[in-house]
Amino acid sequence: MADTLKLQLQFGGGAELLFDKIKKREIELPALNKYIPDSKDNKWTIRHLLVWIKDNLLRERPELFLQGDSVRPGILVLINDADWELFGELDYELQNNDVIMFISTLHGG
């Protein structure tokens, strides 16, 4: 039984500047109840992923990426190359090998 969840994270449109300019990362998430003990069920959602990103990847100026419990408005989220707005946004339940991409629309013009 795979306790961990493998994902690929991608950052683009300037969002990568907040993540050491690295555009692609392979990550492995631990079982959710080990990472967030008070979570009700053991299912990783984008909401949880954002917490993990904040704790593990985001080094500086988190307000440029996050706002409240979501991403900052103006940052697009793609789940397997599709708009997250079609998949329940924060409540989307992550699957093994999902590719989650964050594209900033806020940079340059």
């Binding site: 500047l17 900052r72 697009l76 599709a82 708009d83 079609l86 629309t105 806020l106 013009g109």
Partner: protein
Amino acid sequence: MPIPCRTGCGKNAMLKRPKTGDALCKECFFWAFETEIHFTITKAELFKRGDSVAVAASGGKDSTVLAHVLKTLNERYDYGLNLMLLSIDEGITGYRDDSLETVKRNRDDYEMSLKILSYKDLYGWTMDEIVAQIGRKNNCTFCGVFRRQALDRGAAMLGVKCIATGHNADDIAETVLMNVLRGDIARLKRCTAISTGSEGTIPRVKPLKYTYEKEIVMYAHYKKLVYFSTECVFAPNAYRGHARALLKDMEKIRPTCIMDIIYSGETMAVKEEVTLPTQRICTRCKFVSSQEVCKACVLLEGLNKGLPKLGIGKSSKAKRMLDEYNTKQEQNLKDAIKQLDNDVEKIENNCQSNQKCRSNLCKNKRNGLLNKKSCNNKCSGNCDRTKVIVDNTKVDNLLAKYAIHEPVKKINTDGNNIVNVDEDFDTSDNEDVNIDQEDDTCSASCGKMGSLIGF
């Protein structure tokens, strides 16, 4: 659970359009995106067959998508346009130099000619140099004003009928909001126009006026267009940043607010009794201006005269600063002449009294800030001493002139000024060596100086 494309094409939807709320697949999105821009262009009659059109290209997402879509539509609907790319190199190391590489790639990908104009060539200053002069507070004013005119100049050089810019719906909504927040009625009135430009100027058109930023980014992503997305290295415009953040928050709650703000801006009527500045031609550079002398010329004059704050704020303030500057210059000149006369007199009298020099010092000190300032620049950092040391208006004035002389070399708009200053300076060429010597003395020993002068 995948959602099917709303058009019924049988494919799965890939994005939700913010403008309509429709869930579409990639192909149907491309079609909708491009067709809407086509309708925008044809409905507003932005182009005529045979026109040459310059696409203002920064290498960013908007202009990259604009260039790509215009090329696509030009071929698909046979507009008969001659498209080319026009870029401005502001001279910002680590930002524009990189983004211009992206523009060069656009040139190759879209097979369009590319013209790059630099601030350095047009104005004699790069943005890096300007920021070194004025700091990071008002630099965006310089950059914006200069770019606007630079595009006009570039378009004139290319002989195009119009300039297409990549302003998108979010940008325009943001600008409406900004102009409301600033009470800038003149700009509020014209900022939503899809085509701007008074008689005798090259019009600007905004084919992406009704295109959402989100869709532009999604289009660029799905089409795998290469664009540049680094923020300018200089301080971002804070006020605009707030307006932008507010708008993005509202858009999240109700995406149509973008279109609604644009609609509000378009239909808002300005009361008849409100007087708006009329557009005319700058008396110096002959480009469009709302003042007798355009903002670009005022800013440039300020830079070249060492008064970089000149163009910041109201034009009446600029005029006052310039008057003060000219008065000071005249006064300096008079003082220098007077002092030379005095010196000659002194030499004749063979004055050796330290006392006299000291009293001289007081008089000199009253002669104005400029003197002290330029001496401070010249003296190697020993400010307190400098104040005491400067007891010779002649040296002082020559230093003042010397300090001003350097930037004046850069003036290319004001011929008279160059000549005048150069003549002034030429007459004092003989003193050059003396200045340097005395300058050294300045930071070395002040006691020496009185005796030097009094000899």
